[in-house]
């Protein structure tokens, strides 16, 4: 049975929550689907619990700013919020299917939306280096999500990378009394000239500027050794990481450790926008594709993109772009909002200028800084850098041909962990522009689905399935 949704919002992070709230305030009815078990996206994961626990609230610092208000917006009677909803397919005609939580009916559900808002957020940019598949090596975002769930990793932690998130996580780890042995900074000792040219942007957002200065100062006075201009990162160990080696300003170094967390910025999660065949553009500053959209964030007729999924900007920009998209989507179904739009647009422009400074300050490290021939680029299918290079030399032009040649991008993660690297590595080899190299095609199902999810919960059917012989290996 296909349900009908006036405005369907995918993702309940800052952008999705703001979009749903704005559209609901305008009088539209919202179906809000989110893959996570709790609302708030990754940035506000578990914020509802933390806000009620003074110690947890203090450790989180100001990263939960805005969460209480955004989460309260879910109480609007026009918003039907569904957690644990895994999107399986979406069409340009705005027909969306998802696997919902078990509730007695078929788990595969489908809705036809009049307006569709995609607020699928960001993922960390995967940073391939030798040994990055060893247990104990993870993204800084993953480490921070553990902290948000009350888990402080035991043992000696090394942080490697650059950007606002790694600094914030460093400060949160210190507050949680975790043992941070070293901070390996990918960035140079002095800020790049480009960043100085954009410095006016950060002054347009004094709050963000103050936040950045406070984080940098906290690291400077902490006593944790900071190594700069780090390259040739490599993790070593048998069953898990035991040691990290790297270069810093010409010297080779080695640090024993139990946990390595790496970060080189976040990139838009484009699985759904690619599945919908929306146009994408390569952002040379962020070294990632983002969907192209108009001024009100409409990317195709009746389809809006908002938040980090539409281009990395952080939670504040996500909230503003979500509100704009929500209002525009509501207006498209005959529910125009009141006149707050001009203010939102001006605020969004100011925040974007500050972001330009961050982008210039934290240019992603070139892949060649850490990659070796044996480094796996596709983790699922264990395809190495040299295998991809050989495929390109053999005439595999573009990520989709490389996928056919090598199986890179064919594993369970469906290219989420190698897609960005594939585009960049092929561009490096062929000296083509990343935009011309293109990206992996994304096909449904967007995540692996069990055949039983398609079937009604009928005891006879379940017994028949259990009796059915497994297919020949």
């Amino acid at each position: 049975m296909t349900e009908r949704a006036e405005v369907l919002v995918i993702g309940a992070g800052p952008a999705g929550l703001a979009a749903a709230a704005a559209a609901a305030q305008a009088g539209a009815r919202i179906l809000l689907l989110d893959e996570q078990p709790v609302p708030g996206g990754q940035v506000w994961r578990g914020a509802d619990r933390r806000l009620q626990d003074p110690a947890a609230k203090r450790r989180a610092g100001d990263s939960d700013t805005g969460a209480a208000e955004a989460l309260a917006g879910l109480d609007h009677p026009n918003i039907d919020y569904v957690a644990n909803a895994t999107i399986v397919d979406a069409t340009p005609e705005r027909r969306v299917s998802w696997i919902g939580p078990p509730n007695g009916g078929p788990r595969l559900r489908e809705a036809q939306a009049d307006a569709l808002i995609l607020a699928t957020g960001a993922q960390e940019r995967p940073v391939p280096f030798p040994g990055w598949t060893l247990p104990g090596v993870m993204g800084v975002g993953a480490l921070q999500l553990l902290l948000k769930q009350g888990v402080v990793p035991e043992g000696r932690i090394v942080l490697a990378g650059q950007g606002p998130l790694i600094l914030l996580t460093y400060v949160q780890l210190r507050r949680a009394r975790a043992s941070v042995k070293a901070f390996l900074d990918f960035g140079p000792a002095l800020p790049p000239f480009d960043a100085l040219r954009q410095a006016g942007g950060i002054l347009a957002d004094p709050a963000l500027f103050a936040k950045g200065v406070a984080l940098a100062a906290a690291r400077a006075v902490s006593g944790t050794p900071v190594h700069r201009a780090v390259d040739r990162l490599a993790a070593h160990g048998t069953d898990r990481v035991e040691r990290l080696t790297f270069g810093s300003r010409g010297l080779s170094r080695s640090i024993p450790c139990d946990v390595v967390a790496v970060h080189d910025g976040v990139i838009p999660n484009t699985q759904l926008t690619r599945l919908l065949n929306l146009p994408h553009v390569w952002d040379p500053a962020q070294e990632a594709f983002a969907p192209a959209a108009g001024p009100d964030h409409e990317a195709a007729p009746g389809i809006w993109v908002a938040g980090d999924g539409a281009g990395i900007g952080g939670a504040e920009i996500a909230r503003l772009s979500g509100a704009l998209a929500g209002a525009a989507a509501a207006a498209s179904v005959g529910k125009p909002a009141d006149g707050r739009m001009p203010n939102l647009r001006a605020e969004l422009r100011r925040k974007r200028r500050a972001r330009t400074f961050l982008d210039a300050l934290y240019r992603p490290a070139p892949l060649a800084a850490h990659l070796t021939e044996d480094t796996p680029i596709c983790r699922c299918e264990a395809v190495t850098s040299s295998q991809i290079g050989a495929a390109v030399q053999d005439g595999a032009h573009g990520p989709n041909r490389v996928k056919t040649f090598t199986r890179a991008g064919m594993g369970p993660c469906q290219g989420r962990m190698c897609g960005n690297t594939l585009t960049r590595v092929i561009a490096d080899i062929t000296a083509e522009a990343p935009h011309a190299v293109g990206a992996l095609r994304i096909r449904p199902p967007l995540k692996p689905v069990l055949i039983e999810d398609y079937l009604p919960p009928d005891p006879d059917t379940e017994q028949a399935l259990e009796r059915a012989p497994a297919h020949d290996a």
Partner: protein, 87 residues
Amino acid sequence: MTQTLTIVVDGVPVPASDGQSVAAALIAAGWASFGPHAKTGAPLAPYCMMGVCFGCLCEVDGRPGAQACLIEVRDGLTVRLGAPVPE
């Protein structure tokens, strides 16, 4: 957070806290790896904790191929990993 509930991992009771994902509870209990990599046999572990990397795939409450980082713990929830129990 206080440990308020118990999940069962390969038959072993494991304490967990309300609001944690299954993957976070396993890491807190000392599991570095969630099982062998399907292709290489090397120990495989979560990288992203947010539904992207598929390094936390396991069987949860009889459902195979579940992403342990996207499922919240419940008292009595069962996990099948096939990875060694931490010492």
